[in-house]
Symmetry: D2
Subunit: 115 residues, 4 copies
C-alpha cells in the first residue's frame, strides 16, 4: 500500500526542484495564482472547438500532463500558505454536503443559493 | 502516519457526493474543464488589485477553500480519465527536471524553449 | 474623421472571414466563450513571472495582437447575441457610475458591495 | 450616422470615471490583465453546466453587461499601451487571412500550424 508519504515526497520533490533553480524569487503568490490560471486554461484548450464535449482528436494523451501542471501550482500555493490540500478538500466537502442537501440538489445544476 | 488511502477516501467521498445528487449528467469533461477554469479564476480573484502581490486584506482565510475548489475539479477530471494525480505529477516532474537543467535554468524565469 | 462605420466594417470583415471558411459549425456560443477565455489568458501570460507588473521583456510588441484576439471573440459573441458593444459599454458605464459614487469609491479598490 | 467619435467618447468616459475615483494607482497593466481574465471567466460562467451550449436558463439578459465588462478592461489595456483596438483588429485580421487560407482551412477547426 502506498503511503500518504508519497504525497509529501512529491511536495518535497517540487520544493527541491525550485530551490535548486533559485526560482523562489519569482514565486510570489500572485504569480503562482496567475500560473494556476494559465495552466487551467491549457486544460480547457484541449476541449476548444469540440462538438462532443470530449478532448479534441489527437490530444487525448496530453490530459495527464496538463492536469499535473495544474496540480503543480496548486501544491505551490498550498505550500506557500501552509495548506494541506487533502485536509482542505475534506473540510470543503463537509461544507458542500451541507450546502447541497440531497433532497434539494438532486438532478439540479443550480448554485446552492439558487436551489 | 496517514496513509495514501486518505487520498482515495477523498476521491470516493467526491464520487459518492455526486452520485447521490445525480449530477453525472452535467459532468461531461468539457464542463469539468470549464469549472476547473472558473475555480482557478476565483483563486486569482483573491489577488485582484493588490499591490504587494499578496491576498487582499480580509480574504486571507478564503485561500484554503478556494484551493480545495480547484482540487475538486482536478480530481473529477482525473477520475474521468483514470489519471492518478500523484503518478501524473511525478511523471511530469521527471520531464520538468530534464527540460530545465539546473545549469541552464538557475535564476531565470524563461520557458524551457527560451533558455 | 473615421466613422463608426469602421467598427461595422470590421465586424463584417470577421463575419466574411468565418463564412468563407465554413466555421460557423464550430461557433456555438459556449465555444466562443471558451475562446474568449483562452485569448484573455494569452494576454495575462505576457505578464507571467514579472516583478514590475509590466509585460515581460521582449514581448512588448505582442500586446496589440493579443488584445485584438480578445476583441475578435468579443465581437463574435456580440454578433451572436445581437449586442452592440458600444451601446452595451455605455449602458454598463451608467450602472458603474451609480454603483461607485465618487464620494464612496474614491481611492478604494473594493467591490461596490464592500464599499 | 453615428461617428467613430462614439468609440472615442466611450474611451474618454472610462478615463474620466477612473480619474474621478483616483483609481489609476491600482491600474498597473498586470492588474488590468488579471481583471480582463476574471471578466472573461464571468462570460464563461454563463455557460457553466449547460448541455445545449447556450447560456443557462434565466441568465440570457446578462450577456450584454458581461461582454461590456470584458470590453472595459480591453479598452483600459489598449489605453495603457496606446493601442487603437480597431486598427489592431484589422492588422490581426490581415494576418489571420494569411494564416488560414480558405482552401486549407475550410471546414476545419485546426490551428494554422496543424492544417
Amino acid at each position: 500500500m502506498r503511503s500518504y508519504d508519497q504525497y509529501k515526497e512529491t511536495v518535497e520533490r517540487i520544493k527541491k526542484f525550485c530551490e535548486e533553480r533559485d526560482w523562489s524569487q519569482f514565486h510570489d503568490p500572485k504569480n503562482l495564482a496567475i500560473s494556476l490560471q494559465l495552466e487551467s486554461a491549457e486544460v480547457l484548450e484541449l476541449f476548444q472547438w469540440t462538438k462532443n464535449n470530449e478532448i479534441k482528436s489527437g490530444k487525448e494523451s496530453e490530459i495527464s500532463d496538463e492536469l499535473a501542471d495544474v496540480m503543480y501550482w496548486l501544491i505551490m500555493l498550498a505550500n506557500h500558505y501552509n495548506v494541506d490540500l487533502l485536509d482542505a478538500m475534506n473540510k470543503k466537502m463537509q461544507k458542500n454536503e451541507a450546502k447541497y442537501p440531497v433532497e434539494k440538489a438532486k438532478g439540479k445544476s443550480n448554485k446552492y443559493n439558487e436551489l
